[in-house]
Every structure is written in structure tokens, then in C-alpha cells.
């Protein structure tokens, strides 16, 4: 049971405030902000309590999303509800930001009215909500010149036209009603998060992949959709299929709306997607990666005669050159020094578009590489002047963490064979399949 729901900006401005049960006063909002800002870093801020009122909050899009409750409710339900609420509002407003919430406050109140009644969650499904929500979203994004670049000379199709612009999936699901015809689009995203720990000797100590297939549907009414996965896809250790390189995951779970009658034999998922975004399938793979981890690092740390610390790093990308030539953002946040601040940093990088800076508050060097083609190798030499450098300090250069995004690539090798809508939609419908691998935590010890 939820007493109030409110949304605050990171500066504490009240963006949305809705009281469902009239149990607690609206000073709860100020009290919450007071508590959240006085927190020291060590306290877990997810649940707080003040005078019999529990505050549960999440942070999303730079905003505080807070639910208060008097009764002792399930934390999982409230946190999941807040997560779902952010997803709903993202669907309806296109993107999540302070600006879009401000501009669409009427719509958000309308959504809240339908989703929660007297503190009880009624429904969060877009299929039901679309009958009740009348307000149209105001798009918060300004006209971008980037969009114009997709239009070729005299309106001809350019090569880029075949690739959906990256902003295509960040528009409100409702706006199609206003436009003539609207765009019947459906996006199927395979998103993987990889977390890896590589020991000092180059041995893989931990490797986890958490993946999901997400469908974002802009079609007002979508009939059955069939998603075909790799036929060699297998779940668990015992079950192996086919003779080729199997695509294996440890555990796999599906959205309850997915019908699996053809899954066992043909690896086909059948579902009727509702408008907006939903996660169709989640899977995990632990320890046993089918390919080598995408990055390798060779390092050496020395002390030169002038008392400076020399860090030589060589980073190699082990992806096949064909696959990852497109764009590859790569920004390894570099060693974690836990001793006193450095006085200066000088660097030698192997190409001009890279940059490196010293971040004294994190005690780290940040090395940013905008593009990194597969199979390539980059190196960097950092010279740090550290006051009072001793031999013990050398051991203490912490681990190296990489954060990156690999587009068009999945570490498990999961692919979508086909994507069919049946019966075929009237009018032009566009289907997009996108793959991306994010680094959840990619740590290499030195």
C-alpha cells in the first residue's frame, strides 16, 4: 500500500506530488529531501524511516522517485513498481529527464491516477492504460540538425537511412496518433552486460554475462510476433544442440506473456507485444565464456630515476576485425591510487583523438578512447609525479577498470534469426534488431 508518490529533481524541486491516502502531510517531501541530502555515503539510502513513514526511493534519469508507505509492505514490490513507473513514463514521454517530466506533468498525473488507486497498484500494462490516457506527450527534445543528415540529396535514400538513428527509440509511444499515419516501428534489442575480473597474471578470474531481449513496440495494435533465436541455443550445461559452436546460457526466464510452444524444437518465441517497452527474455551465463574476453591489457609500472611513476599500458582488443569495425566507445577509467595526490601528469598516447586526464577526487587517471577497431592495439605511457614515492606505493597501484559499449555484438553469440509479424501489418512497418554489449564492470588487476 502506497501513501504518496513524488518525483524530485536532484536539486530538490518538487516536480510531481501525489497523495493517495491522505495519511501523511505534504511536508514529507521536504523531510525526504532533508534526509537524503544529509546522508553520509555509507548509509544505504534506499529505505528510510521518519515517524512511522517509510520512504522508498530509486534514482533514475537524475531524479528521485519516491514512494512512501505506512504499512510494512514488500520492498521488492515497491521498488519494482517505481522501476515500472519510470519505464511507463519513459514510454509515454519519450525520455526521462527533469525537462520532460516538467513538460509532461499533466500526462504523468493522468498516468498516476490510472495506475494507482487509493494506494493500491491497479495496472501498469500499456494495453489497458491506452484506453484511459488522453493527454499527448510534449517532446522535450529540440530540433536536432543530426536528423537532417539522414535525408539525402533531393530526398533520396542514403545509406544511413537503412540504419535507424539512435534517437528513434526515444520518442513517446503515443505521438503516432497525432501524426499522419505515424511510423509503425518495432525494435528488438539484445542487450548484454558483461562483468569480468582478470587477474594480474592474465587469468580470467570471473566472467558473468547478464542479457536480455527487449521489445519496444510503437504499433498501436500489434498482432502475433515471432522471434527466432539461433537454433543452437541451449540452456544449462547438459543440453547441447547441433554440432556447431553452441550458444549456451546457464539460466533463462521469459516474460509471462511469451508462448513457448515452438521454443523447444525451433527456438521461436511467440508473443503479442503491448505498446511500449518490455523485457521478453532474460538470461545469464557464468564463468564459461564462449569467446575470449574482448579486451586484454599489458602493463608495467616502474619508478624512474627522477622519482616519477611510469605506467606503461598496452590495450588490445580481441574482437574479430570484421565485426567491430564500426564504432566502439572505449573509456577505461584508469588505476586507482590510494595514496596522496599527484602533482602532475604527463602522457604519451598513441593517437591524437584519445585523451587522458587526472582525476584527483577519484585518485584515478582517466583515459578515453573514442573508437577502437577490433584487432587493434593501443598503448599509452603515463608519467606521474608522486611526492614521497616509495617502493611500497608501487604495489598499491590498484586495478584498471574499463567501461565500454560494443554495438552489434553479443558476447554469448545470441542472434535473432528472424522477426516476423503475422498477419502482415497493413501499411509500412519497420522492424529493427539491435545488439549491444555494455560493460557492467570490467576489471583488470595489475
Amino acid at each position: 500500500m502506497i501513501s504518496q508518490v513524488f518525483i524530485l529533481s536532484s536539486k530538490g524541486d518538487h516536480l510531481i506530488y501525489k497523495d493517495f491516502r491522505g495519511e501523511a502531510g505534504c511536508d514529507a517531501v521536504n523531510k525526504f529531501y532533508e534526509m537524503v541530502t544529509t546522508l553520509t555515503g555509507d548509509q544505504p539510502p534506499v529505505v528510510m524511516k521518519h515517524k512511522e513513514l517509510h520512504y522508498v526511493h530509486i534514482r533514475q534519469g537524475g531524479l528521485y522517485w519516491v514512494a512512501t508507505t505506512k504499512a510494512d509492505s514488500s520492498p521488492f514490490t515497491i521498488i519494482e513498481f517505481l522501476n515500472r513507473l519510470t519505464a511507463l513514463i519513459k514510454d509515454y514521454c519519450g525520455c526521462l529527464s527533469e525537462k520532460s517530466v516538467r513538460m509532461n506533468f499533466a500526462l504523468i498525473y493522468e498516468v498516476l491516477d490510472e495506475v494507482v488507486d487509493f494506494g493500491y497498484i491497479q495496472t501498469t500494462s500499456t494495453d489497458i492504460l491506452k484506453n484511459f490516457i488522453q493527454t499527448e506527450a510534449v517532446s522535450a527534445k529540440p530540433l536536432s540538425l543530426f536528423d537532417l543528415s539522414n535525408v539525402g540529396l533531393f530526398g533520396a535514400d542514403t545509406q544511413q537511412n537503412k540504419v535507424a538513428p539512435s534517437v528513434a527509440a526515444t520518442r513517446p509511444i503515443m505521438s503516432s496518433r497525432g501524426e499522419q499515419g505515424g511510423k509503425n516501428e518495432i525494435f528488438v534489442d539484445v542487450i548484454e552486460r558483461i562483468s569480468v575480473v582478470i587477474g594480474a597474471n592474465g587469468v580470467l578470474m570471473k566472467a558473468d554475462i547478464e542479457g536480455e531481449i527487449r521489445v519496444k513496440c510503437y504499433m498501436p495494435s500489434c498482432s502475433e510476433m515471432r522471434i527466432g533465436l539461433n537454433e543452437e541455443f541451449s540452456i544449462g550445461k547438459s543440453q547441447l544442440r547441433g554440432y556447431g559452436a553452441a550458444v549456451r546460457v546457464d539460466e533463462c526466464s521469459f516474460h509471462q506473456a511469451v508462448r513457448l510452444d515452438e521454443f523447444d524444437t525451433y527456438r521461436i518465441l511467440k508473443l503479442c507485444p503491448s505498446q511500449g517497452e518490455q523485457t521478453v527474455m532474460q538470461y545469464q551465463l557464468c564463468d564459461d565464456l564462449p569467446t575470449a574476453p574482448p579486451f586484454r591489457l599489458f602493463s608495467s609500472i616502474e619508478r624512474d630515476t627522477g622519482g616519477r611513476l611510469l605506467i606503461y599500458l598496452k590495450l588490445r582488443c580481441d574482437l574479430p576485425p570484421k565485426r567491430s569495425v564500426l564504432h566502439l566507445n572505449n573509456n577505461p577509467a584508469l588505476p586507482l591510487f590510494s595514496y596522496s595526490l599527484f602533482s602532475s601528469l604527463s602522457q604519451e598516447l598513441s593517437s591524437p583523438d584519445q585523451s587522458a586526464e587526472l582525476q584527483p577526487q577519484n585518485k584515478a587517471v582517466h583515459w578515453e578512447i573514442p573508437r577502437f577497431p577490433g584487432g587493434a592495439q593501443l598503448s599509452a605511457l603515463f608519467k606521474l609525479e608522486v611526492p614521497g614515492l616509495s617502493s611500497a606505493s608501487l604495489q598499491e597501484v590498484g586495478s584498471i577498470s574499463l567501461s565500454f559499449e560494443l554495438p552489434k555484438y553479443t558476447c554469448t553469440g545470441l542472434q535473432i534469426r528472424f522477426l516476423r509479424l503475422s498477419p502482415i501489418q497493413p501499411g509500412a512497418s519497420q522492424r529493427w534488431v539491435r545488439y549491444v554489449t555494455h560493460s557492467d564492470s570490467y576489471t583488470i588487476r595489475i
Binding site: G22, G41, D42, V47, S74, F76, E210, S338, T443
Partner: protein
């Protein structure tokens, strides 16, 4: 504006409610009811439309009408809701729309709150169970929590229900999984083996939640995993790698992952986990690095001396917060495992730093006091402290300094006597803090009694008594201890408070015990109590059964109350000192006391046994 409740609005809404056009249009009718219910003055007008709304053709109207009755009950708590309406609501539990069904449960829960909520009998329970699949995530978790009140009549029925619910334990919707597990634990409270296998089933989804992309969900899952580990330490053993900290995770998640990792250490993975923890010791966040250092220390209690190597290695980094945390950890470690004494001494041999942190200074002084005979430099470090005692602000450091000086004096009188005199003089004559002054006076009088008495109080056997194991280690708890707080907000709040006060701080306890071995008085005991964080203090009068002290002791042990000390049986008043851990289900003040509270009690008896 309908929300303002002006005359105009009231008239308009009344007109709207009686308008047949509006009554036929579901959406408009629903919205009108929505608005009217917010105005207390209009309740009398709304009852009739609500009754009609319960029978409406459109499900969306019925949903609103059902909750409308709960709202009326909340607005006018004194008026009884008509029994016919309650019956109607019970009838609507069979409504084809699942949301109406769940709303009926919610409304009845509120209306019948005084009678203990909606009555769950066998037909209702089975009806709800059978329709569970139709509800969405929110409805299912609501129904599951209501079903907790139902007690199956027979074992067969119980197992039917369990096998019906079993697939939900694997649901990837965490709220459903958690609600189902809670229901399992409450249904099978008499069948521990079933509970354990339910926990094993739910392990996969819980682990997945602990790696979810929403970090708030991750934290909630981690807190609940900590609960599970209290009874089933081996449950997650082979999945320890899932609890490695990510680089970008917020400190509170890292800290609870570290706490979980400590629980998962076993013979096979201890080396790998220590290696991982070592990496966290140099974390940018000071609390995280201290948590990692503590974790290494508590692994060291039961596992090899590699821990000590890591800890002493960290001292060389010469980072204030790391050094302080390492010293505290070493203090707690050697108190439990005296065999590490030599290694600690060799690490402290070259000590030359200045520490600012109070806790760290206290720990250093304690170590100096205990190993004063083996550390050649101990008196000289103490001398620095004594010279600076005037500018010392913390009473804790001063009492620690007094004890340490006295201890070193026992082993090396020639080097220490002069500075000890200066310290005692300062503390007795100039000190403003009563605790410090009393402590100094005590030592002064104790020295008058002769060196043997001093030795008996400060050095005798209590240095590390393994029989105090129950105070430090934690035996697995029965599942029922925490089943009642599973899937509530409490575990998340516990996570917030347990960081501050960790029980099992050996030397503090030792200090208390030292006091007890001294011919003790009431005042002494109460003063010793002040060393702990006193949360609750009370005096209780009660009759003690007439029996011998020994049989009383045995009887108390049966209910988990341990005896610290008692006076000779023929003395009056006869005294006995007891301690126990609090457990959440037993203490009435469970919401205010943190977990693992130590309860100390003094029993005084004024009549002969």
C-alpha cells in the same frame, strides 16, 4: 475545479451522479465517482451510486466502486459499512475481472480491519489460489500475502498448495518470488526440510535479482540474501563470484556484498576471496575500504594466516584510514586467536606514525598494553601519548591509555614508572571527565593493594577465553527467527543500522570481564555497562525459584541465557550476572533495537536460597 469542494462543484457533481447519460457512459461515471469520493461532505450522495457501481457491467467501474467502499470507510471511520455491502464484496471475489477480485480483498482488509481482516476459509483460499495465474504481478503478490493467514487443515492440502505454488518460486518477477517464498516459509514453519528446499529453489531468482540492472533492487536482494545466510550459510557457497563488487557500484552495495562474501568463505575459495577482498582495501571510499579490512579480519578468525600477511602489508601504505582500520581489526583478531601475537608484534615493531583517528589510537594502545613485554618500543610510543595527554580530547583514548600504561608497567616497571606517575597525577587532578578520573583513581588504589592484585586484575587468564565463542561466532539460526521479516522493509533498514555497531568486539568485552573478576560492586557493573552502547536499561522485580545456583544456570542456558559470574552461594545479597543476545521475534522493542544486541543483566537476591 472539482477538487476544491465549493458549493458550485457539489451541485454539479450531484447533478452528474443522477444523470442517466453519465451513468451509461462508463468512463465519465467512473471519473465522477473518483472525484466525489475525495469530498467528505458528499459521502451520503455517493453510497447509492457505489452500490450500483458494484453491479455495473464494465469492469473498470466495478474496480473503482469496490475501492470506493474502502475510501468511505477511511473517510468516516465511525460509520459501519452495511453488512449487505460486505457480503456483496465477498461475492465479488468471484468476479471475472482479476483486478476487481484483488480490489475486493484490499477493500475487505480495510473495512474488516478490526475483525482481523478478510476471513480466509478453505473455499476462498482455494479460489484465490486457482485464479492466481490471471492476476498481474502486483495482484499476485497481494493475494499471496493475504493467503499467509490461511492454515491448511491437513497435510495433503498443504502439499497440494505447495505444489501449486512451486513454479512461482522460480518467477523472474522478484515481487512474486519473494511473496511466494514468504508464504512457503509461513506455511511450512513446522517442516524445516521443506523450507530449506524452498530456499534452494528460490536461490536462482534471488541471485538474478542481486545482479539486476536496477541497483535499488540489487540492494534489496542482497539484504534478503544476508537474512537467508543467517540460517543456511552454505546456500550460496558456490556462487560466491556473483558477489564480487563492480567498479562503479555505490558504496552501500559494495559493503553489503563484502558482508555476504565473508559468510561464503570456505576451504576451497578462501584464497580467491581474500585476493578479491584485498583489492577492495584500497577503495576510494573510506567506509568500503574499512569494511573490506574488517572482512579480512573476520575471515582470519577461522582461516589461515594469509589474512595477517595482507593486513600487515596494508600498514605499509601509510594511509590514515587504512592504518586505523587495520589496527582495530588486528586488535579484534588477536583477542580471538592469540597465536597471531608474534606476527602482530613484528608488524608493530617499526611503528613510528602519528594517528589522528580515535578508534585507531584506542586499538593501538590496547595492542601496546597487551604486547608491551614483547615490543621493545612500547614504552616510548606510550610516552609520546602521555606527553600529549593534555591535548587529547577523547575519553576513550584516555582510559585505554591508562590501562595500557599499567599493563606495560607490570612487565617493564623501570621504563614506565615515571611516566605512569605523571599520567595518574594528571588524570586524577586535572581531568574533567568522570570516567577517566574514576578509572585513574581505581588504578591508583589498586596499586596500593600491591603488585599481585594489579596483575590479577589486568593480566589474569581472561586475555582470550575461547569459551566466549558464542559471543563472537554466530551459530546458524532457525529459519523462523527471520521468516516474519522476510519480504518486509525491515531487512533493508537492518542493513542501514548494522554497519555502525557490530557485535563481537572482543577487547571491550574483555574489559567488562576484567571488571567482573575484580571483587565487584553494583556501581562497577553498571559502569562497565556504559562501555557498551546502552540502548535499553530497566529494573525488573521478579520472584526467583528456589533452587541451587547451578540448576538455575542450566535452566537459563536452555533459554539461551548465559551466566557470566555469580557470588558464593551463602552470601547475601546473592548476585548473578547474565548475558544473552536479543532476537527479533522475542523482544518487544524489535523496531528500536539493532540486531545482535547484547543484553546484560544483574540478578540480586536478598533472601537465602
Amino acid at each position: 475545479m472539482p477538487y476544491l469542494g465549493g458549493e458550485e462543484t457539489v451541485r454539479e457533481l450531484r447533478r452528474a451522479l443522477s444523470n442517466p447519460h453519465i451513468q451509461t457512459d462508463h468512463l465519465r461515471y467512473r471519473n465522477t465517482i473518483h472525484r466525489v469520493i475525495r469530498l467528505p461532505g458528499l459521502c451520503e450522495y455517493v453510497e447509492q451510486p457505489l452500490t450500483a457501481g458494484l453491479k455495473d457491467k464494465a469492469a473498470c467501474v466495478r474496480r473503482v466502486a469496490v475501492l470506493g467502499w474502502a475510501k468511505i470507510h477511511a473517510l468516516l471511520p465511525n460509520t459501519e459499512i452495511d453488512a449487505a455491502v460486505v457480503n456483496e464484496l465477498y461475492g465479488l471475489l468471484r468476479d471475472p475481472d482479476p483486478v476487481v477480485m484483488v480490489n475486493c480483498l484490499r477493500a475487505l482488509e480495510e473495512i474488516l480491519e478490526e475483525e482481523g481482516g478478510v476471513a480466509i476459509n478453505k473455499p476462498i483460499a482455494h479460489h484465490l489460489l486457482n485464479r492466481l495465474k490471471e492476476c498481474d504481478v502486483w495482484g499476485q503478490s497481494e493475494v499471496l500475502s493475504v493467503l499467509q493467514r490461511y492454515r491448511p487443515r491437513s497435510e495433503d492440502e498443504l502439499f497440494d498448495i505447495l505444489s501449486l505454488l512451486d513454479p512461482a518460486l522460480l518467477s523472474h518477477h522478484v515481487p512474486i518470488m519473494a511473496a511466494t517464498l514468504r508464504l512457503f516459509l509461513s506455511l511450512c514453519s513446522m517442516l524445516p526440510a521443506v523450507c530449506v528446499s524452498a530456499l534452494e529453489r528460490a536461490r536462482g531468482p534471488l541471485l538474478a535479482a542481486a545482479g539486476s540492472s536496477s541497483r535499488e533492487l540489487r540492494y534489496a536482494a542482497l539484504c534478503h540474501i544476508q537474512l537467508l545466510l543467517r540460517s543456511e550459510p552454505g546456500l550460496m557457497g558456490e556462487h560466491y563470484k556473483r558477489f564480487y563488487c563492480g567498479y562503479a557500484e555505490p558504496p552501500y552495495i559494495k559493503q553489503s556484498k563484502i558482508q555476504v562474501l565473508v559468510e561464503l568463505v570456505n576451504d576451497d575459495n578462501v584464497a580467491v576471496v581474500l585476493d578479491e577482498l584485498k583489492g577492495y582495501c584500497t577503495d576510494v571510499n573510506t567506509e568500503t575500504s574499512q569494511a573490506a579490512i574488517n572482512a579480512i579480519g573476520s575471515i582470519g578468525r577461522s582461516y589461515d594466516d594469509r589474512c595477517l600477511g595482507i593486513l600487515t602489508g596494508l600498514l605499509e601504505l601509510k594511509q590514515e584510514h587504512i592504518t586505523s582500520a587495520v589496527l582495530q581489526t588486528l586488535r579484534d583478531l588477536v583477542w580471538v586467536s592469540p597465536q597471531y601475537g608474534d606476527a602482530v608484534c613484528s608488524a608493530l615493531e617499526k611503528w613510528e606514525d602519528q594517528l589522528q583517528d580515535t578508534q585507531g589510537r584506542g586499538a593501538l594502545l590496547w595492542l601496546l598494553g597487551v604486547y608491551g613485554d614483547r615490543l621493545s618500543g612500547a614504552p616510548y610510543i606510550l610516552e609520546d601519548f602521555i606527553d600529549g595527554v593534555r591535548s587529547e580530547v577523547s575519553a576513550e583514548v584516555k582510559t585505554e591509555l591508562l590501562t595500557a600504561t599499567l599493563r606495560v608497567f607490570l612487565s617493564r616497571p623501570a621504563e614506565t614508572q615515571d611516566m605512569m606517575g605523571r599520567l595518574l597525577q594528571h588524570c586524577i587532578e586535572e581531568e574533567l571527565d568522570m570516567c577517566v578520573r574514576d578509572q585513574a583513581l581505581l588504578y591508583y588504589r589498586l596499586l596500593h593493594c600491591g603488585i599481585e592484585d594489579v596483575r590479577r586484575v589486568l593480566q589474569c587468564g581472561r586475555r582470550s577465553d575461547l569459551s566466549l565463542g558464542p559471543l563472537i561466532g554466530r551459530p546458524p539460526e532457525p529459519i523462523s527467527q527471520w521468516a516474519s521479516i522476510f519480504n518486509t522493509l525491515e531487512p533493508l533498514m537492518l542493513g542501514a543500522s548494522s554497519n555502525g555497531f557490530q557485535f563481537g568486539n572482543g577487547p571491550e568485552l574483555e574489559k567488562a570481564l576484567n571488571m567482573l573478576s575484580f571483587p565487584c560492586t553494583r556501581v562497577w557493573f553498571l559502569k562497565t555497562l556504559c562501555l557498551f552502547v546502552v540502548i535499553f536499561q530497566a529494573y525488573v522485580m521478579c520472584p526467583v525459584p528456589r533452587c541451587s545456583p547451578e540448576s538455575l544456570q542450566v535452566a537459563l542456558q536452555l533459554v539461551n541465557i548465559q551466566t557470566l559470574a555469580f557470588t558464593a552461594p551463602n552470601k547475601l545479597p546473592w548476585k548473578m550476572y547474565l548475558y544473552t543476545h536479543s532476537s527479533h521475534t522475542l523482544t518487544p522493542h524489535s523496531s528500536t533495537t539493532p540486531p545482535n544486541t547484547l543484553i546484560l543483566a544483574e540478578v540480586l537476591q536478598f533472601t537465602m536460597l
